[in-house]
């Protein structure tokens, strides 16, 4: 299988001198197309920083990042914006839906920036909402949806441009057990459909549902190929 994400000696350093923070330090990581991978580790270990680099939202201080065989360092900001638009979908812990837009318009937003015509946008946004089980909530504003429904709208928005990669930073962090299971079911389906999924989570029960775990500590990858079977309820204590 070919690699979709390749991090080579990636470091991300904030500040300098006394205030220097090594958010990432000499990270080497490769994630293949079709992988379903969770990133775990203590708070402040660099998980979100890694996700930002992988999602082409942030540039590393050192090292090389290849996404879909392109050296990201060589691309300008607008090109990165276009890559995020077409190849990457984001799901955040806080959903980040626009409150003034309906579910349908929220989902259609990435296609607006992708220059897709109105009629096609509506059709595809409705399909995506259907796919996450919200076909009957198209006109609801975010404030008229439950947390789980809002996160599903966010997932629909992330997949509407048929990305190669779905990045989710603690997508179930704000959800209860039942809605967490619903969301994980959707991720599982998407991964079966061929989308590479990378997800940050603190919940072993969630990580167990993925195929592979990458473990971070103090900005470094301490285990890049942990099996979900080895994850237990005591794991986070360390």
């Amino acid at each position: 299988m070919s690699s979709l994400i390749t991090l080579q000696n990636i470091s991300k350093v904030y500040g300098s001198g006394n205030t220097e923070v090594k958010a990432l330090w000499d990270v080497n990581l490769s994630i293949n197309k079709g992988d379903y991978c969770s990133i775990m580790g203590p708070s402040g270990s660099g998980k979100s920083t890694a996700m930002n680099v992988i999602g082409c939202l942030d540039r590393p201080t050192h090292g090389h990042y290849f996404f879909d065989d392109q050296d990201v360092a060589l691309l300008n900001d607008d090109t990165l914006a276009a890559i995020r638009n077409r190849k990457i979908g984001f799901v955040f812990q806080q959903f980040h839906l626009l409150p003034q837009l309906s579910a349908l318009d929220n989902v259609a937003l990435p296609m607006v920036y992708g220059g897709i015509p109105t009629a096609e946008r509506r059709q595809r946004a409705a399909n995506a909402l259907q796919q996450v089980g919200l076909g009957n909530r198209l006109t609801n504003k975010p404030s008229q949806l439950s947390g789980g429904q809002q996160q599903r709208v966010a997932i629909a928005r992330a997949i509407v441009n048929r990305p190669l990669l779905l990045l989710a930073d603690e997508p179930t962090g704000a959800l209860d057990t039942t809605t967490t299971e619903e969301v994980m079911k959707i991720f599982d389906e998407l991964n079966r459909g061929g989308i590479t999924v990378v997800m940050v989570t603190h919940e072993p029960a969630v990580a167990k549902l993925t195929k592979r775990i990458v473990w971070f500590r103090d900005g470094e990858v301490v285990n890049a190929h942990m099996s979900p079977d080895n994850i237990g309820y005591g794991t986070l204590v360390e």
Partner: protein
């Protein structure tokens, strides 16, 4: 790869959605521009109305009239208040007799007066003049007669009342034949003028006209060594073509009479309709410009208000901006989005302000004697200017939004 992913119609729809989502804030933001626009349009309308009013009055004097005014053209036109009293009745008579291109000559001298009729008092201008006044100024009497040559010779104590003064003093009674007192001198009312309206700042309706000879001997009580002094002389030329000839001949005659050898020494000057129009135009244009300038300041303040609110809005919407960038918005997309919001706010404010301004002009027309009106060019300009103000003051907030780092923006919860 194109940097602007979003088409213009889409941006417009998005901006309208965002702005209508917070109606109160949007309308408050527009308020400054609304007020600015309304005041620019109504002030310019007022100035234009005033200009038209004054030039209509000047034009109503008729094209053949000349005014001979004491003083030097230079000092007078520079706004000097020093007006020498060196035109006399004899000058007016000489013009009438000796200048062939002139038809009629009127002399006018105004003094303040206290008028009593029985127990009623009124303060009014007492205008001493001669019989030719009626024809020169195109006035008519409503009742009775005007001043006659005989009145002039005999310095008769006869008075012709302005229309509203007559009403004020006599109400229902017939004024003709009644006696009234002007500064304690008894006069007989022999005529009432028809309604004239205000004329170049003089309200003849509220004045009393008496023979200028009577005024000199009984009201003023003294004459200069040269004769009876007059405030100004008005003369009608035979026709529009002889206007210049008349002006030339009057100048020569008066210089001769006043012993003037060099033009700089002139102690009088002649104005015709054109020079009056030019003077009035200069003054009213300056006034209009000043009004517009003052009103423009409020437009500027409105623009700054838009910038202020937009800056707050960018700060409040960092998460939205971060999200838009994360899902693929380019810097330009964000820039355009915020610019369009600013332009819509100020252009909409401009249109509303224009409507209010036009309404305000309607109100001003009711409250002032002049017909104010909003010109299309001013409206187009005001809306254009307010749109540009939005563009101008929207640039800083929009650039701030476009430059936001998506990660920082997303994290700000």
């Amino acid at each position: 790869m194109p940097t602007l992913q979003m088409d213009f119609r889409e941006s417009l729809k998005m901006a309208v959605k965002t702005l209508t989502a917070s109606k109160l804030r949007s309308s408050l933001t527009m308020l400054g521009i609304i007020i600015g626009n309304a005041s620019v349009i109504s002030m310019v309308g007022l100035g234009e109305g005033g200009r038209r009013y004054i030039s209509e009055q000047i034009q109503s004097l008729g094209p053949n009239i000349l005014f001979i005014v004491p003083g030097n053209r230079e000092t007078r036109e520079l706004g000097g208040l020093e007006i020498t009293r060196n035109l006399v009745l004899a000058d007016a008579e000489a013009i009438a007799e000796q200048v062939p291109s002139v038809v009629d000559v009127a002399a006018e001298n105004t003094t303040p007066g206290l008028i009593n009729f029985r127990n009623r008092n009124a303060n009014a201008s007492v205008i001493g003049t001669n019989p030719a006044f009626l024809s020169v100024r195109n006035f008519t009497t409503d009742q009775g007669r005007f001043i006659s040559e005989l009145d002039m010779q005999r310095t008769s104590a006869v008075a012709i009342l302005g229309n509203s003064l007559a009403e004020r003093l006599f109400e229902e009674q017939v004024p003709l034949g009644q006696s009234l007192r002007i500064n304690n001198v008894t006069f007989e009312v022999v005529g009432v003028l028809a309604v004239q309206g205000s004329n170049l700042g003089v309200n003849y309706d509220d004045a009393v006209m008496i023979p200028i000879t009577t005024q000199a001997s009984r009201i003023v009580g003294r004459t200069s060594p040269y004769g009876i002094q007059v405030g100004f002389i008005s003369a009608t030329a035979r026709d529009a073509e002889s206007l210049q000839t008349a002006e030339f001949q009057i100048t020569n005659l008066l210089r001769l009479r006043h012993g003037i050898t060099r033009p700089e020494e002139d102690d009088f000057f002649i104005q015709n309709q054109d020079t009056l129009l030019t003077i009035a135009d200069t003054i009213t244009s300056a006034l209009t410009l000043m009004l517009a300038a003052i009103a423009s300041i409020s437009l500027l303040v409105g623009g700054i208000g838009i910038m202020n609110i937009m800056l707050v809005s960018v700060r409040e919407r960092t998460q939205e901006i971060g999200l838009r960038k994360a899902i693929g918005a380019s810097q330009q997309d964000i820039l355009i989005q915020f610019l369009i919001e600013a332009i819509i706010l100020s252009a909409a404010g401009g249109i509303i302000g224009t409507l209010l301004g036009v309404g305000g002009i309607g109100l001003l027309s009711l409250l002032t004697p002049f017909e104010s009106s909003a010109s299309i060019s001013v409206i187009v300009m005001a809306v254009g200017v307010s749109g540009s103000i939005g563009l101008f003051f929207g640039v800083i907030p929009a650039r701030q939004a476009a430059k936001l780092d998506p990660i920082v923006a997303l994290r700000s919860i």
